[in-house]
Symmetry: C2
Subunit: 231 residues, 2 copies
DNA sequence: GGTTGGCGTTGATATTTGTCAATCAAAATG
DNA sequence: CATTTTGATTGACAAATATCAACGCCAACC
C-alpha cells in the first residue's frame, strides 16, 4: 500500500528533477518542505485519467507508465517514465484534470508537488519556463512520431521500434531485464498480446534478439532499425 | 503562385489571431508592420516538415491541413486549420525545425510572423504566455484522443468521428461542401482511400448521411456518435 | 472535338491482424 | 506439498483492412 512520508531531502536526491537546477535556494527549500513522497507497488495506479489534477509527480525510483484507457478496456501506453522525470499533464493549463493515467510498472517511489506551487515557480522564472516549454515540445514531437509509427507501420516495425525504445530510452543497455509484461509491450505498440508474442518469437528465430523469459538482448540493432524503418 | 504583400491591417482583419487581444498597441503595430501575407493555391505546401522554422503562420482565409509525411509517402493529417488559427509547431522551442507540414486544402491566405518576434511577445507577457500554454495543451489533449481513436477504433468508428469533426469543428454546419478530397479523408482517418469510400457508402445506405459528390449532410448525428463511440 | 489526367468508385483478392480456446510454466497461496 | 492463479505461448480460425485492376466521370488542355 501507498505510504506517505516527507523524509527525503531533494537537494541530495539522486533522482531530483532538472527544475532544482534552475530555481533559487528559497524555492528549493519550499519545494523540499511541501513535497510528499509516496511509494507504490508494481501494478498500482498513481493517478487516474479523469481525476482532478492537484499535484504533479516526480518519479524517484522504479518505473511508471503513462497510458490511456480507451475502447473496451484496452490500454494504450504513451511512454514509460524513469526516475527524475516529471509528469504533469496537459490538463494543468486547461481543466485541472488528468487526461491520462500514471501507473507503477515496477515498485515505484514518487514525489507529489502541489500544482499551484509548481505553476508559480514556472511562471515567475523565465529560464525555467523556457526549459519546461522545451521539454513539453520534445514530448510533443515524440508523440507525433508515435502517431505515425502506430498508424502507418505494420506490427513488426512497431515491435522493432519498441525494442529499440526500451533499450535506448528506458533500460539504457542492449541487454536488459524487461520489467514490462507482454501485455504492456502490446499496449505500447497498439496490438494484441498474442501478436506481440508471435513477433518477438519471429525476431528471435531470425537472430535479431535473444529472449529468455524477461531477459532480452538486442543482437542486431541495425537489423531492428531496418525492420522499424521499413514499416 | 505565392504572392507576397503586406497590405492588410491586422487591427481590422476579420480573422486576426487571439493574440492581438492580449498585447499592447505598440506590439500590435510591430506585428502589423513585420507580418507578410502570402496566398497559396489549393494543393500547395505552406511549409514543409524538416524545413527551418523561422516564421509562424496565421491562416487568414481558406483551409489548411497539418500533416506528416510518413512511411511510403503515406500522409497522416493531424488536423485542419481554419482562419484566425495560429500554427507554430513544437520545433519552435527545440530545434527550430518544422516537425510537420502545412498544406493548403483550399486556396488559402496566410500571414507569416517572425519567430523571434513572436517568442519575445509571448515571454514578456504573462497572460499571453498563459493563453498560449492553454491552447497548446488543448491541442495536446486532442492529439491524445486522436491517438486512441486511430489505434483502438475500427474504420467505421474513425470515419464517423471524422465526419462529426468536419461538421462541428471545420465547416460548422450539419450540411457542408466537403472541400477535402476522399484521399484527404483517408489521410485524416489513417486508412486507404478505397476503405474510406466504402464506409461513406455504407453510412449513406444506412441513412446516417446524405452524400452527393462533395455535398455532405449529416442526417443522424446520434447514430454517428454511437458508431464513433462503439469503435 | 478528341485526348489526357486526376479523382471517385467498385469488385475481386490477398494480407494483416485479432479472437478464441487450449496448454504450459512459474509464482503465489494455503 | 497440493492447489490456485497468473502470465506466456501456440494453433486454428475469423474478421478487418489493404491492394490491385478496371472503369466512369469530368475538367483541363491541345
Amino acid at each position: 500500500m501507498a505510504v506517505f512520508t516527507n523524509l527525503g531531502k531533494c537537494d541530495t536526491c539522486r533522482s531530483r528533477s532538472f527544475i532544482f537546477d534552475l530555481i533559487s535556494e528559497q524555492d528549493r527549500d519550499l519545494l523540499n518542505r511541501s513535497k510528499q513522497e509516496v511509494s507504490f507497488n508494481a501494478g498500482e495506479i498513481i493517478f487516474k485519467q479523469g481525476a482532478m489534477l492537484t499535484h504533479i509527480v516526480c518519479v524517484t525510483s522504479g518505473l511508471a507508465k503513462i497510458y490511456f484507457e480507451g475502447v473496451d478496456r484496452k490500454n494504450l501506453i504513451l511512454r514509460l517514465v524513469k526516475p527524475s522525470e516529471l509528469v504533469g499533464g496537459p490538463g494543468m493549463f486547461v481543466d485541472q484534470r488528468h487526461h491520462y493515467s500514471l501507473g507503477a510498472v515496477e515498485d515505484t517511489l514518487v514525489c507529489f508537488i502541489e500544482l499551484g506551487l509548481y505553476r508559480e515557480l514556472v511562471f515567475r522564472n523565465k529560464p525555467l519556463a523556457h526549459e519546461v516549454m522545451a521539454r513539453e515540445s520534445q514530448h510533443r514531437i515524440e508523440l507525433y512520431e508515435k502517431l505515425v509509427n502506430l498508424t502507418q507501420k505494420q506490427m513488426p516495425g512497431r515491435v522493432a521500434e519498441a525494442l529499440l525504445y526500451l533499450s535506448k530510452q528506458v533500460y539504457n543497455s542492449s541487454k536488459f531485464l524487461c520489467t514490462i509484461s507482454r501485455q504492456e509491450l502490446a499496449d505500447l505498440t497498439a496490438m494484441s498480446k498474442e501478436s506481440a508474442i508471435r513477433i518477438l518469437k519471429d525476431f528471435k528465430e531470425n537472430n535479431l534478439v535473444s529472449i529468455e523469459g524477461n531477459q532480452v538482448e538486442l543482437l542486431d540493432v541495425e537489423g531492428l532499425m531496418s525492420v522499424s524503418a521499413r514499416g
